[in-house]
Amino acid sequence: MDLKPSEVTSVLKQEIEGFHSSMETSNVGTVLSVGDGVARVHGLDECMMNELVSFDSGASGVALNLEEDNVGIVLLGQETSVKEGDTVRTTGRVISVPTGLQMLGRVVDALGNPVDGLGELGVTADDYRPIEGRAPSVPERQPVKEPLQTGIKAIDAMIPIGRGQRELIIGDRATGKTAICVDTIINQKETGGGDPNDPKQMLCIYVAVGQKQSTVKAVVSKLHETGAMPYTIVVSAPASAPAAMQFLACYAGASMGERFRDEGRHVVIFYDDLYKQALAYRQVMLLLRRPPGREAFPGDVFNLHSRLLERAAKLSDEKGGGSLTALPIVETQEGDVSAYIPTNVISITDGQIFLESNLFNAGQRPAVNAGISVSRVGGSAQIPAMKKVAGGLRIGLAQYRELAAFAQFGSDLDKATQQSINRGRRLEELLKQPQYAPVPVEEQVAVIYAGTSGALDTVPVNRVSEFELRYREHLRSAHSGLLEKIRVDRKWSDELAKQFDAAVSAFREQFLA
């Protein structure tokens, strides 16, 4: 590490010059009891809610319970150093985290301290924002209108997400929830070439709550590998962190996102996952002796998530037109979406992406159940070309699902039914996508059109994926003009359809030969 001698000298000088006036006033209290990461303190009568307090030993904590004769404080680390009888001082600051462009490319903990070993963040005191923020009011918002491209065909076509939306990703363990986040982050490179200073570049924040450190490390490595880290902040509150840090991490991430949103930037934030956050919150609240309710969660567990997700917004043009898109993740147990936390978060968000383990095990990856996944506001944000093409995809798949059940019983199917089932199988095959391989929206439009127009009906089902891959390559090399047209105009026309029909049938002949 490189220490600037002049810096240290200047600190010393300031300190010596200002010594006579250095009287500090603080409100103090005494630790009555400490245990399980919670301290009860007598005194501190001017303590604010969520205020940071510091202990004699250098440990810090947050005041969460202000009662008549004591204050309940959750400790943020170093809990073994706090003793009964220790003096506690208020700091006059509510808990806040550093924000700004310097944070990008870094891995930080719930208090914004770097944990990636890359040195100081280089932020100033002005960059700090309280972790609890007021959500934008009605006049400060505008309807969601721009698309957030995840690069995942199944999502962009059928469950489109708009900038400023809140879309829940829900599913059992090991169904690819985190994979969707990582793919989405990687795909955001398209928006501004991965340069965080480009105002068009979408910025990403990944909040890992209660995860294994090895999982976080794997995500960070993947982001580095794919060049996605320069426009991403990772907030990590691993399973080994104190419970208080785990539930505060989401708010810390939201504050970092809000800074960019208020500066007119577009941000997407992933909370991975809110179920673990609720568990951490339950632990702290039970230790603080707040009354437990259903499943022993405290009564305000709904508000815990609603106030967090309400901070996602598309701001009005007067407010700079920035957006904060929230993609919370909730892990279900045995596919039970009617449990307490999943139903809460489903009711707060603007739609949900269901991932199913039987689809995943059947090889349908991403394991999105297109039938019951919805996006309540994203449709208006889809580009017109995709909207037009995806309509056919949705109908084709719906018919297929209806008929597929019958097809299992008998072999005597009429021609039309046979046709629908064939089409459906190929469409399903078309939605399969490997991990870390996002597809640009214009290529998505082209391949989905190929599927819905029936161009794939003569391609064997097991060769659809290969066909798709090679067809996209072919389009990029031979028909880049067509793709460009969709990317720029975003519109779909009969003329364009004819041109794609010609391109796909020419390619199919070559492919099947």
Partner: protein, 179 residues
């Protein structure tokens, strides 16, 4: 301070105020407090499970003998509810409530060296101005603060000690931005 002790103390103070017997009650309560807490054996005898009812009653009778009527009633009330341990914690709470009612507060001044008459008077005036009411200051010598002074009034700490300034300097130096 337990909220239970606070309830009993507040009730006692209320009744004493209406009967105009605050000073007498306060003096007697302090005496009982020192009798109970001054001798650990007495306190153990009073609260211990092995003490018989008769012995405990005799002890209590001796404690309140000649005390103010209100205190005799209070001790009887505590005995009825088996709250003997409260006898030891009632006085500090009562004193705090009494001072709050009188608009007074307590403060502690810590200095590395003893202060002269003039300084203590000036500090008392300063404390009264800062708190906006009368402050009972206690002066204490605390060599560990090295120099300067540290004054606590109620729950507010005014820290101008050298020890704290050094601590703050240490914290700032350990967080100097690195090039």
């Amino acid at each position: 301070m337990s909220s239970l002790a606070k309830r009993y103390a507040a009730a006692l103070l209320d009744v004493a105020t209406t009967r105009n017997a605050v000073d007498a009650v306060a003096a007697d309560l302090e005496a009982i407090h020192s009798a109970v807490t001054g001798d650990p054996a007495v306190f153990a005898r009073l609260t211990g499970p092995e003490t018989s009812q008769v012995l405990r009653q005799r002890l209590l009778d001796r404690l309140v003998e000649g005390r103010h009527e209100l205190l005799r009633n209070l001790v009887a009330a505590l005995a009825r509810r088996q709250r003997f341990a409260l006898l030891g914690g009632l006085w500090p709470v009562f004193l705090e409530l009494l001072r709050a009612a009188r608009g007074e507060t307590v403060g502690v001044v810590e200095t590395a060296r003893p202060l002269d008459e003039g300084r203590t008077a000036a500090l008392s005036a300063l404390a009264a101005r800062l708190a906006g009411r009368q402050v009972h200051l206690t002066f204490r010598q605390a060599p560990e603060i090295l120099g300067g002074l540290r004054m606590q009034i109620g729950n507010t700490l005014y820290d101008g000690s050298v020890a704290f300034a050094l601590e703050r300097l240490r914290r700032r130096l350990s967080t100097v931005p690195l090039a």
